[in-house]
């Protein structure tokens, strides 16, 4: 129905809805069958490169040690060594990713893991795909294609990730329960929208991470609406936050 698509109202409602979702943020939302959004945080180039370097070093050390040991076994050892080299070259990442919840030792160290695009743990076919296609990512030299693809993708995917439908994400860390600043619970002087409610709670929860001056400055913005002098606005906001959370 072209007339709807061309109508200016439709266009403005489209564009005005966008910015809130399009913040400068790398978070990636996955909608589940249960109707909730899961939030994944894709990892960028630097942590991934570091994780890869760690894996490279580990593999180098393992191969060095095994060659010393197998060297003593003569030709049998050389055969085993070549098979081992094959396993380490092509299967090291795959085995760790599938059997260790998407984490090779380097990724584990850097707090990363590999998941499917839908947030589920990576399986054999996807892991094999992304690691075989590494061969193309390293072309023409020093991971050039992989780096270009990674920098060009909103979710930092290298070519292997695109083909396999996988993501490298940060492992979630347990959030610390915040301590709200002491204040007398007090009702807000006007009805709060959901967004305002979240903003006030967020302000109170993050109080410890902000400097005193910044807190006063931020709270001062709405001092007038709260009908208090600017110096008391912070205390008042904390009070409202307490009333929102309810008695402990």
């Amino acid at each position: 129905m072209p007339h709807i698509e061309n109508s200016p109202e439709h266009a403005t409602s489209q564009t005005s809805a966008q910015p809130s979702a399009g913040l400068l943020d790398t978070r990636y939302q996955v909608e589940t069958p249960e109707g909730i959004d899961l939030t994944l945080r894709p990892a960028g180039l630097v942590p991934r490169a570091l994780a890869y370097s760690i894996d490279l070093i580990i593999r180098g050390v393992v191969m060095g040690l095994m060659y010393l040991l197998l060297g003593m076994l003569g030709k049998l050892g050389m055969g085993l060594g070549t098979i081992l080299l094959f396993l380490v070259t092509w299967w090291y990442m795959v085995l760790f990713e599938v059997l260790n919840q998407g984490r090779s030792p380097g990724k584990q160290w850097m707090g990363l893991r590999v998941v499917h695009d839908d947030g589920t743990p990576v399986g054999w076919p996807a892991s094999l795909t992304r690691n075989l296609l590494r061969f193309v990512d390293i072309l023409p030299m020093g991971y050039t294609f992989g780096i270009l693809s990674c920098l060009n993708s909103p979710t930092f995917k290298r070519l292997g990730d695109i083909a396999a439908g996988t993501l490298v994400v940060y492992r979630e860390e347990k959030p610390q329960p915040p301590i709200l600043p002491e204040a007398e619970a007090i009702r807000a002087p006007f009805a709060l929208s959901l967004k305002e409610q979240r903003a006030i709670l967020g302000f109170a929860e993050r109080a410890n991470g902000l400097s005193k001056e910044r807190r006063i400055e931020l709270a001062g913005i709405i001092a007038q609406q709260l009908q208090v002098p600017a110096e008391q606005a912070e205390h008042r906001l904390n009070g409202i936050a307490h009333s929102l959370v309810g008695p402990r």
Partner: protein
């Protein structure tokens, strides 16, 4: 309901769910009694998360629930990896079916690979000096020494004598499967890489085969390669077919976005590559423990080789056609 009431009311059930998750994440499985009702618990967490979001509860609470939901999601929708059973089913019926389903790419890759191999072989046989414009003289010389009818053992490393089958086995695995993987992966370069490796390997093998036949080493050469060639050459063609499929998805994605087409094509072609890798493993085994032996007469080797070719071809064309295919 105020947030603090909500929290204190459900805190215990969240803790319980978290401990179930810990168990599942650590070992991959827990005893049945402990994870009873996991799915119901997970749905409840999802409901609590939606409630918390709709009621504008604090960021900390929402993040906490979101993490529980994410971890639950990952455990509930974990792809089951019954790798053993899957592998058997795949080898008995899935793989040949897949090869037949992808016959266009398989035919194209086979034509490129075997076509260039046979053409080059015939050319070198008819015009012997041509071999030096493809293969460098040193390599030609080493090939000649490998298949010298006077040698007691054949193939790569023949000069090392007996007792090194293990070493050869390792070398063949590394070398051949590596080549197959490269042929596949480079298909991502719009199919050009696969095209190159198929033609390159075809031309090289063809040139060597033509040259050795022409100088009269045909019996040692052909009796050596015919056995494992059935698996090895087919596998390279199949890996090439998988690579061409990747490239084709990028060149002609049809009605899908290119990235989506690539993802779907990769899911299929990785299975082709897995099958090709199994073929190459077999080929390496045959090459190390059968092809290089000299106790069997060339006639026996030709017979076995022909049987292996027939086996491979009939496996790819006939296996898995039954209605009640083994799963």
């Amino acid at each position: 309901m105020k947030q603090s009431q909500f929290e204190s009311h459900y805190q215990a059930s969240w803790k319980d769910f978290a401990s179930k998750l810990d168990g599942l994440e650590k070992t991959g499985k827990t005893d049945a009694a402990h994870s009873k009702g996991f799915a119901a618990d997970y749905r409840r967490i999802c409901q609590h998360l939606s409630l918390a979001q709709a009621r504008g509860y604090s960021n900390y609470l929402i993040e906490h629930l979101q993490q529980l939901a994410l971890r639950g999601h990952q455990q509930l929708y974990r792809h089951r990896s019954t790798i053993g059973a899957q592998l058997v089913g795949f080898l008995l019926s899935g793989f040949p079916r897949l090869v037949r389903a992808q016959w266009r790419f398989v035919a194209a890759a086979s034509l490129l690979f075997f076509g260039s191999l046979i053409t080059m072989g015939l050319l070198v046989y008819l015009f012997p000096h041509l071999v030096y414009s493809v293969v460098d003289p040193q390599q030609v010389a080493s090939m000649e020494s490998m298949y010298d009818p006077e040698a007691s053992r054949l193939g790569r490393f023949s000069e090392r004598g007996a007792g090194d089958d293990w070493m050869m086995f390792g070398f063949y695995i590394m070398n051949n499967i590596g080549i197959a993987f490269q042929t596949f992966a480079s298909g991502l370069l719009l199919g050009l890489g696969s095209l190159f490796f198929l033609l390159f390997n075809g031309v090289m093998i063809g040139a060597v085969a033509g040259h050795l036949t022409q100088i009269g080493y045909s019996e040692t050469f052909w009796s050596f390669v015919i056995g494992h060639g059935a698996f090895e050459l087919t596998a390279i063609a199949l890996a090439g077919a998988a690579g061409l499929k990747l490239g084709w998805a990028l060149l002609a994605p049809g009605r899908l976005p290119r990235m989506e087409a690539l993802r779907l094509a990769a899911a299929v072609s990785i299975r082709l590559v897995a099958g090709a890798a199994v073929f190459l493993l077999l080929a390496a085994f045959i090459e190390a423990y059968w092809s290089s032996m000299t106790f069997a007469t060339p006639h026996v080797k030709y017979a076995v080789g022909a049987a292996l070719w027939a086996l491979v071809l009939s496996y790819l064309t006939l296996a898995g056609r039954g209605v009640h295919a083994p799963d």
